[in-house]
Structures are given as structure tokens and as C-alpha cells.
Symmetry: none
Subunit: 227 residues, 2 copies
DNA sequence: AGCGATTGTTACCAACTTGTTACCACTGCG
DNA sequence: CGCAGTGGTAACAAGTTGGTAACAATCGCT
């Protein structure tokens, strides 16, 4: 699920891209209106997040041009909160209009609401990469070349936390909190769960990913690209 | 293009209905959550404008029930402007969420954007595909090469919810809400109903569709094109 | 009234999940 | 060297989930 983020504020662009990746989307970024159109044409994203104040070609014009050629879902992002701006954007062809500042959770929820309708695949319950991806709605993990592997609820939580932080060491306390809540687990339980998930991965998805131990600290997920 | 306006504030309900009629829409109104569900069922509107603070059954529950059974576009209207409320509404299945107060022009623009995106038409009496289709008016399910199969009311609700979401896993809670309403059923009842519907399908429409179990989550309908 | 269909409730069983306990090897420290 | 702590591995027991079946109550129709 590929989303083109068009935003001239580089810091905001990075934050949005990071948020989207953490929620299972793949992102491409552009920082001016003309580059946006070229990128949209070349990459054929599943959605465009479109700032309105852009160098070289403003967001309304970009929307107009995309909409004239395709049905790609478009969400506008702007500090302009007047009715005139909102109505104009929606009439030109935007699917939604979000006034800045906005929260990451609302952005993601609105993206999902629009994608739910435009059917470019189901809501991305999927987290991960091409090599290893989790499907929450099915409690499954998928890797190319292997049949889907169904995980138990706790196994799924552990793997998801590791996948979201793939390549980095996740401290044990954080894993415990993510899996059992604030006061619900301990290191013995985590150790056993890690052993179980490792066994599952080794047996059913050999060579795809490994869980590395960092003594006294925690665990990290390594996929082949990290090993 | 018929729009159901669910709003307990009678003055606002009238203003909205007037605005919509002036913009070419036909309107029906309801003033509490239970009446809304009955009206939605009886009138099959093209869209629902849904206030959240309603007597008898709150707007979130109404949305949940409609969404569990159908793809009718839903726009939520509410004074609640917190991220939590907006995200919750969108996740439950709303297509847009408009914070009160809003202007008529923005309301109409957002309605049009949602209708554009959903390509809305009336919910048909028949739901499904060439391979498997439900006829609500006759409580029948039809598949090529087999005589029509008459289903019991609860079986019909279950199969309809599964057909509308064919290929995807429908969480048990959603199925329960769709069949028995918000507080009316439990997992044991669902389990038994699933068993009964499965037996019917296997006996009377062999090979046409199967109901897949995703442990701990719910069920999905697979037709031959999904298997 | 009788019968068939529907639905809720209860019962039984197999498979799975999870917490707890046990044992062992390794490492670091006193 | 001995001990404590950590991490890996394995087994056991309790609880949960889902499939299957039967019974009883209710409703609608003849």
C-alpha cells in the first residue's frame, strides 16, 4: 500500500512518512508540485497526501491534474481552514481535507476510511515488509515462498513489537509492557514466549528472520536484510 | 439520492434536511438511534448522516450495526472534536466525521465527496456475486446450478454479513452485533449458528462457499474464487 | 391441538494457549 | 572456586476456544 506524501516542510514530511510506515504503509515523498506530478506518474501510488502550499505548482492544481487523469484517492492537508478552501478542495476532487495541525492517529484513521472505500486492497492490517509481514486481521505472518503461519495472540504481539522495531534492540521491559500490559508479565514469561516464537519461526519460516538476544537488555528481530 | 438524517435536535434536523433538499437530495429523518435503524432497514437510503448523541441507542452503536450489515455511506456529525472520538468513529466504519458547528456548504461538499468515492446507489435486494447471491426479500440464497435455499432469519443475517465482507475476516463481535444487536448475543450463540449455517451450505450448496475460522478473531466467507 | 421450524441452552470433546516449574549451561563477580 | 543471575529448553497443568450434538422452549401454520 504505497502513499505519496507531498509536503514542502521537510520535517513534517519526515514525521508523516514515519507515522505511515509505522502503520504498515509504504511511503514516497515529494516536496514541490511539479515533482509530485512526476512521482505520481512514475510510481502510481495508492494514495496521495497533498499539501496545498507548494513551490512550483500549488496543491490545488496538482489535485486538478491528477483527478483529470485518474481516480487515485487524494487527501488534502492545509493550514487553510476556511469553508471556501475546504469546499473548493473537495469539489476539485479531494476525497478528504484535513486542517493542520492534526494528530497522527486522526491522519491514519482518515487514510484508512478513504482506502476502505477505494478498495486498493483491504485496510492495511499488515505490518512489516515484503520479506516478513504480519496480518493482524488473520493473526498470520506472511513471507514469500511460505504458506501463511498462524500465530497465537501473545506470539503475534511479540512479533509485531519486534517487527515494528526491526533491526533495533527492544528492551525486555518494553516487550513485557507491550504484550501483557503495565503490570501483567515478567521476565520468565517473556523468556518462554521468545523461545516459543523462535521455535515457530525456525520451523515454519526457516531462514526468513531470527530473534537476536542482547543479554541483560532485550531482543531484536533480524531479517535477512539485517543479518 | 435519498439521505437519512439522524438527529435528535429537531431544529438542526430541519435545517439539514432543508439544505439537502435545496441541493437536490431527498431526505428522511429519524430522531433516535432505534428509529434510525428501523428507518434505515425500511428505506434503504443512499447515505446516513448520523448524530452521535442520540436517545435510546447512541450513534456509535447505530454505525456499528449498519456497517456490520451493509456498505451504506455514513457521515458522523458531532460536537465531540477529540481525536479519540474522531478516530473511533472512522474506525467503526464512518466515511467522514464532521465536527459541529459546520457550514451547509462544507456539509454538502463532504457529502458529495463521499458519494463520489462510494459510487452510491441503493442497497440492492440482492447481495453477493454471480457465484453466491442473497435475496433478502425471499430469504433465499442462490448459486448457479442449485435450487434456491431458504434460510432462517438468523442464518440469513449471518450469511449476509459474511457475503458483504466476502474474503475478509469478520471479527466475532461484529457478527454478534449484526445478528443480535448490541447486547443480544454471545460467542456460544454465534458458534452454534455458524455450525448450523455451515451444515446448511455443505448439504445444500456443496462446493460453492465455505466459512473459514480464524481462531480468537472471527470467521470469513470463502467462495471458490477465494479458495 | 399437533407439527415443523427456529433458536437458546447445555453438554461433551479435541486442540490450542499460556503460566508455572524444572533443569542446565554460561558468564561475571566476590 | 563458588555463587548468583541470565538465558535456553522442556514438560506439566489449567484454562480457553471451536466443533458437534442434543434437548427444550417458542412461534407460526394447518
Amino acid at each position: 500500500m504505497k502513499i505519496l506524501v507531498v509536503e514542502d516542510d521537510l520535517a513534517l514530511s519526515d514525521v508523516i512518512a514515519f507515522t505511515l510506515r509505522r502503520n504498515g504503509f509504504e511511503t514516497i515523498t515529494s516536496h514541490d508540485g511539479q515533482a509530485a506530478l512526476r512521482t505520481w506518474e512514475a510510481e502510481q501510488p495508492d494514495m496521495v497526501l497533498l499539501d496545498l502550499n507548494l513551490p512550483k505548482l500549488d496543491g490545488m492544481s496538482v489535485c486538478r491534474q491528477i483527478r483529470a487523469q485518474a481516480t487515485t484517492p487524494i487527501i488534502m492537508l492545509s493550514v487553510r481552514n476556511s469553508d471556501e478552501a475546504i469546499v473548493q478542495g473537495l469539489e476539485i476532487g479531494a476525497d478528504d481535507y484535513i486542517v493542520k495541525p492534526f494528530s497522527p492517529s486522526q491522519l491514519v484513521a482518515r487514510i484508512r476510511a478513504v482506502l476502505r472505500r477505494t478498495g486498493a486492497g483491504a485496510t492495511p492490517e499488515s505490518v512489516g515488509s515484503d520479506r516478513l509481514a504480519l496480518d493482524r486481521s488473520r493473526s498470520e505472518v506472511n513471507a514469500p515462498g511460505f504458506p501463511p503461519v498462524r500465530l497465537a495472540p501473545l506470539e503475534l504481539r511479540l512479533l509485531e513489537t519486534l517487527i515494528v522495531n526491526a533491526g533495533a534492540v527492544v528492551p525486555a521491559d518494553r516487550l513485557i509492557a507491550a504484550i501483557w500490559g503495565v503490570d501483567g508479565g515478567d521476565r520468565t514469561m517473556l523468556k518462554q514466549l521468545v523461545y516459543r516464537l523462535r521455535s515457530r519461526l525456525d520451523t515454519e519460516l526457516p531462514g526468513v528472520a531470527t530473534i537476536e538476544t542482547v543479554p541483560g537488555i532485550g531482543y531484536a528481530l533480524l531479517t535477512d536484510s539485517d543479518a
